[in-house]
């Protein structure tokens, strides 16, 4: 009996054994639950282990000139990337040797990468740029050794490549994004490139395309084991859109050559469309300087250059328009009924706007009508006109009201505000509002004699070269203009509709004829004679922008031919004195070049003119 009781006690021990088994299983299930369900960090760890997300950069859109000649293209470069977590047991010595750097440079670079103040997006797990923009040749030299270094690989990027060293301001440049730009647009991450000026900046969203991503599987040794899910989750990059510019590459180049060692701008526009044919800012620079590893060094050097090559003069430099502004006034006086084309004013070597104060004029035949006043650029004529407009308006309105009418007309011709070109950093010029004069002189305390200099484009009037070129275009069109723009075609898209809208000025068409006649006479036998070309009717107007800091700036605006105009142009040459000396010949050569494709050097006067322009240096 005792034995079987003992046996029963032992038989019951099976339950203790089962209990032990179940307890262990229970603990394991809790642990499994904890790591598989409760704690999500394991999943992230597995992903960061296994997936190497490789960004594939799209090729940036190409730029063509208006004749579909390739202007700006791409060249491959390689960024050397490093994943800090994986560079354990790294052979620093041979790595440095491969890259031709010393240990100290290596250490410094690593410190820089790790420094979260300088490198905000730093992570041990993601690729960091160790050395950027290795050229194809440089990369070729290290390519075969790269496999030896765990956690190091090359990332292909594209940089810009230019067919010619011209048009730097128009095209603009591409540079690495800064922290501000990364914060502003989530598309960008550290080391990305973005258009920083010119067309590159304005059309960034078209040009950049869309980044792709390739999800690679990486094994425990950092080796790539293929593409995740056969590339199902990959995203192919979408190439940027190609753009056709309105620039004529030949004309642009020629203009830049003419402007060598001179300060100033040339803006040429096709009047019938508003397309910018040439946009020259001088001095210019080779766009290649702002590409690649030397970019920031070169950029700083350009920034320090006293002649400010980075300054985009055609859009940003504001000058008093001088005599070119007389055309604006001539149009307004007619429209407001102050004068007709036959109205004549006398000029006694100037205009006396008080008994003792005279605004001088230069010698010319006296008692000119409107056409002749344009031809000879008579100052007195326009002062008389302004007096008629402001002091005794034909419609019997007040001076202030009449001034406001004047201002509206001026604004309708694209002055006093930004034109809205497809260019960053455009300036609007200056045409004062009447209340500003009220504030300066007191309400109703001012009249034509107070602000007489606006009659001849001096004083409180400022305009940019592109506004002056636009004036030439709207006169060529006899009363309307299209907003100047630099992009003609966007691949698979159309240009902004604001560039296809006709802007009608407030001046009736008929008032343009005497002005245009006068402009033709100015070139045929007036102030712009030096620019005359056999067989081409050029209508132009010289000007001089007063420069309180030194020699005056020479201005010439023109369009040609007179009937059915193909080109409107404004030329500014700084510190060169009277308009005819520099600006007229340059504009004339540009017009001939554009209309005939070349400058006819068989004609001695044209050959000499070109030689003088190309070889005279106004700055050193």
């Amino acid at each position: 009996m005792k034995d079987s009781l003992k046996n029963q006690e032992l038989r019951n021990r099976q339950y203790i054994i089962i209990l032990i088994v179940l307890s262990v299983a229970f603990i394991y299930i809790i642990q499994l639950f904890y790591i598989q369900i409760a704690d999500s960090s394991y999943k992230e760890n597995a992903d960061s282990n296994a997936f190497l997300k490789k960004v594939i950069y799209p090729s940036r859109g190409l730029l063509y000139d208006r004749n579909e000649q390739l202007y700006v293209s791409n060249q491959p470069v390689y960024d050397l990337m490093i994943i800090m977590r994986e560079i354990q047991g790294f052979d620093t010595l041979s790595f440095c040797k491969m890259l031709n750097i010393n240990q100290e440079e290596f250490d410094n670079r690593i410190e820089e990468i790790k420094d979260k103040r300088k490198n905000r997006g730093y992570s041990r797990f993601t690729p960091q740029i160790f050395m950027s923009q290795l050229s194809v040749a440089e990369y070729g030299k290290i390519q075969e050794q790269l496999y030896k270094f765990r956690g190091v690989y090359a990332q292909q990027r594209v940089l810009r490549k230019y067919t010619t060293p011209h048009g730097a301001h128009a095209i603009g440049s591409v540079g690495e994004v800064n922290q501000q730009q990364i914060d502003a647009d989530s598309y960008y991450s550290r080391g990305d490139y973005k258009g920083q000026s010119g067309v590159e900046k304005e059309y960034e969203t078209y040009l950049r395309g869309e980044k792709g991503v390739e999800i690679l599987l990486r094994d425990a040794h950092g080796r790539i084991q293929g593409v995740y899910k056969n590339g199902e989750r990959n995203k192919a990059p979408i190439a940027g859109k190609n753009l056709t510019m309105t620039i004529d590459m030949g004309l642009q180049e020629y203009g830049e050559q003419l402007m060598i060692k001179k300060l100033g701008s040339i803006v040429a526009i096709e009047p019938s469309t508003g397309e910018i044919l040439a946009l020259i800012s001088s001095p210019s620079y080779d766009p290649h300087l702002l590409v690649g590893r030397e970019r920031s060094k070169n950029y700083n050097a350009l920034l320090k250059d006293p002649f400010k090559p980075l300054f985009d003069r055609p859009l940003m430099a504001m000058y008093p328009p001088g005599s070119t502004f007389k055309l604006v006034n001539g149009l307004i006086y007619q429209q407001e009924g102050v004068i007709t084309e036959d109205t004549r004013f006398s000029c006694r070597m100037g205009y006396y706007y008080s008994r003792t104060r005279k605004l001088g004029c230069h010698p010319h035949p006296n008692n000119l009508d409107l056409r002749e006043s344009v031809q000879h650029s008579c100052n007195a004529y326009y002062c008389h006109g302004l007096k008629g407009l402001l002091d005794s308006p034909p419609s019997g309105i007040s001076t202030t009201e009449s001034y406001n009418h004047w201002r509206n007309h001026v604004l309708s011709m694209g002055f006093g505000k930004k034109l809205g070109v497809d260019f960053p950093n455009e300036k609007g010029g200056l045409i004062l509002e009447s209340n500003r004069y009220d504030r300066i002189y007191g309400k109703n305390k001012w009249k034509s004699s107070t602000i007489i200099s606006i009659a001849i484009g001096q004083g409180e009037v400022l305009a940019t070269p592109i506004q002056t070129a636009n004036l030439a275009a709207l006169i060529a069109n006899r009363g309307y203009f299209y907003t100047p723009h630099i992009i003609k075609k966007i691949e698979g898209d159309s240009i902004d509709k604001r560039f296809r809208e006709k802007h009608q000025t407030t001046i009736e068409q008929k008032y343009f004829d005497p002005i245009i006649d006068g402009m033709l006479m100015a070139v045929e036998q007036g102030t712009g004679r030096v620019g005359r070309i056999e067989g081409i009717e050029i209508c132009g107007k010289t000007g001089t922008a007063q420069n309180p800091h030194g020699k005056d700036h020479s201005i010439f605006m023109a369009f040609a031919p007179k009937e059915n105009p193909k080109i409107a142009i404004a030329v500014y040459v700084e510190n060169s004195g009277f308009g005819a000396t520099w600006a007229v010949p340059i504009a004339s050569l540009m017009i001939e070049k554009y209309l005939t494709g070349t400058v006819d050097t068989t004609k001695l006067n044209r050959k000499n003119l070109q030689k003088r322009m190309l070889e005279t240096f106004l700055i050193e």
Partner: protein, 490 residues
């Protein structure tokens, strides 16, 4: 002919079904862990999954042979098999080439074999035969000694082969002895011993925060406090004297409280470690006096227990810091959470946990595991095979596999208990205990609860040697069980 029919009818098909299911799951897991994203193949006999298919085929053949052998043979040949295997184990030390520091693999023709795997089988047979002999009782010192000899001999030889993991599995026979009448106190003591060992290492040498030159070893403090509490519980349990228990524990508590007050007043010369020694010494003195006063022998057992605790701590202290290699110390420390070493000893466990953890509820799907296939998890088709299942089949898959093992073990308990012969029962318990230890240690290691001890997961891990020895082990018992049924059928 009719005998054979009845034999197959008497087989326990539930166990066989569980076996086949586990082996099949194992094959798919091996297929997946050796799957190459670059060169996907369906079936390739030169690949790991291909050879495993061959091992499985041989395993089924072995199972069949094992079943066809007359069940009496196992009982009759038990001692001879044990003796031969011991000889083979010894020979292995001298014959085997060194592979990763261990000398346990024998190469016979195209097959590499680990005799240590077979040693478990031989020991189970031998133990069954010895303990089922007429009038056997575990209470005799001589028998205890002989049983210990049977278990410890192969264990020691395997340790000499540098296969500590496999040797550790022999501890599984503790469960068998417990079922066969070994005093439960041994189990409790073994458990307390393991617990104290872990706690001691975990809290050893943490310098007191306020005064860094006074070195406290909270390992001693914690183990001594727990020992005193254990003795208190023993007093209540064996002497049925709750008042004395409270006095005993309370008296010790006052000592620690006094030390705490001294520390509050800035007197830190008497550390908690010193207090722990004072407390345990006074306890021993108290128990000795009580033993003399009450003439109760049991007090001496309590004293031995306390002295054992002191010995355990000091031996562990010495062993850990002076005997173990630094990398071994590291392994143990990583598991105890004392060290975080993601690239060293902790790397395997960490990557394996990431693998399983990233599986989530339902897993990433068959062949979609990245941790295992991209070699982040080491030995992904052998010791860490469970990781593939955890990653690809998720929590649900892991639990299913765990439940299959529990089902198998419980089924084996039921089978063992229905045996009429002690030999079959003891052998059955040996089989289930060995399987239990393997599963518990292996899965515990993979999910980061047990130190990294390299032993395969029963029926699932890649490799013929382990699969075959477990097949023979299991099917010998199925054969013995069928024999019981045969007797019933007659």
């Amino acid at each position: 002919m009719s005998r054979k029919v009845s034999l197959f009818r008497s087989l326990d098909w539930i166990t066989i079904l569980l076996y086949v299911t586990l082996v099949t799951i194992g094959w798919f897991a091996i297929y997946s862990s050796t799957y190459d994203f670059e060169n996907p193949t369906i079936l390739n006999f030169s690949a790991r999954h291909g050879s495993q298919l061959i091992w499985i085929g041989f395993a089924f053949l072995l199972a069949l042979i094992t079943i066809l052998i007359d069940s009496k043979m196992y009982n009759n040949l038990a001692y001879i098999i044990y003796f031969l295997i011991i000889l083979l184990l010894i020979a292995t030390i001298f014959l085997a080439p060194e592979i990763k520091g261990s000398r346990s693999w024998l190469k016979i023709g195209p097959i590499t074999m680990q005799p240590a795997e077979l040693a478990k089988y031989a020991t189970a047979l031998c133990l069954g035969k010895f303990m089922s002999s007429y009038n056997f009782t575990l209470n005799s010192i001589k028998n205890m000694f002989l049983v210990g000899f049977i278990i410890l001999t192969p264990m020691l030889i395997i340790i000499l082969q540098q296969e500590t993991g496999l040797a550790l599995v022999f501890a599984a026979f503790f469960l068998v002895l417990f079922r066969e009448g070994m005093n439960g106190i041994f189990m409790v003591l073994a458990f307390l011993g393991a617990l104290f060992f872990v706690l001691f290492l975990r809290y050893d040498y943490i310098s007191s925060s306020s005064n860094s030159y006074i070195l406290e070893s909270f390992g001693f403090v914690i183990v001594f406090i727990l020992s005193v509490i254990s003795v208190g519980i023993m007093i209540a349990y064996y002497l049925k004297d709750n008042r004395q228990m409270l006095q005993f524990i309370g008296g010790n508590a006052i000592l620690y409280l006094l030390t705490g007050i001294l520390h509050l007043f800035g007197i830190e010369a008497i550390t908690y470690t010193i207090t722990a020694y004072i407390s345990i010494s006074l306890s021993i003195l108290y128990l000795f006096i009580m033993a003399l006063l009450q003439k109760q022998k049991k007090y001496f057992l309590f004293i031995i227990f306390l002295i054992g605790s002191i010995a355990l701590c000091n031996v562990t202290d010495y062993f850990f810091n002076n005997v173990l290699q630094p990398h071994q110390q590291m392994r143990i420390k990583v598991v105890l959470g004392l060290e975080d070493d993601p690239l060293g000893a902790g790397y395997n466990v960490r990557q394996s946990k990431i693998g399983i953890g990233s599986g989530g509820l339902l897993g990433k799907g068959f062949l979609n595991g990245t941790q295992t296939k991209l070699n982040y998890v080491p030995e992904q088709d052998t010791d860490f095979i469970f990781c593939t299942i955890g990653e690809e089949q998720g929590f649900v898959g892991s639990i299913v596999v765990l439940f299959l093992y529990i089902a198998l073990i419980i089924r084996l308990v039921i089978l063992a208990e229905r045996q009429r012969s002690s030999f079959s029962r003891i052998f059955g318990y040996s089989v289930l205990s060995i399987i239990f230890f393997h599963v518990a240690i292996n899965i515990g290691m993979v999910i980061g609860l047990v130190p990294v001890i390299g032993i395969p997961l029963v029926f699932l891990s890649y490799g013929g040697s382990s699969l075959w020895s477990f097949t023979i082990l299991l099917f010998t018992f199925i054969r013995l069980d069928a024999n019981r049924m045969e007797i019933l059928h007659q």
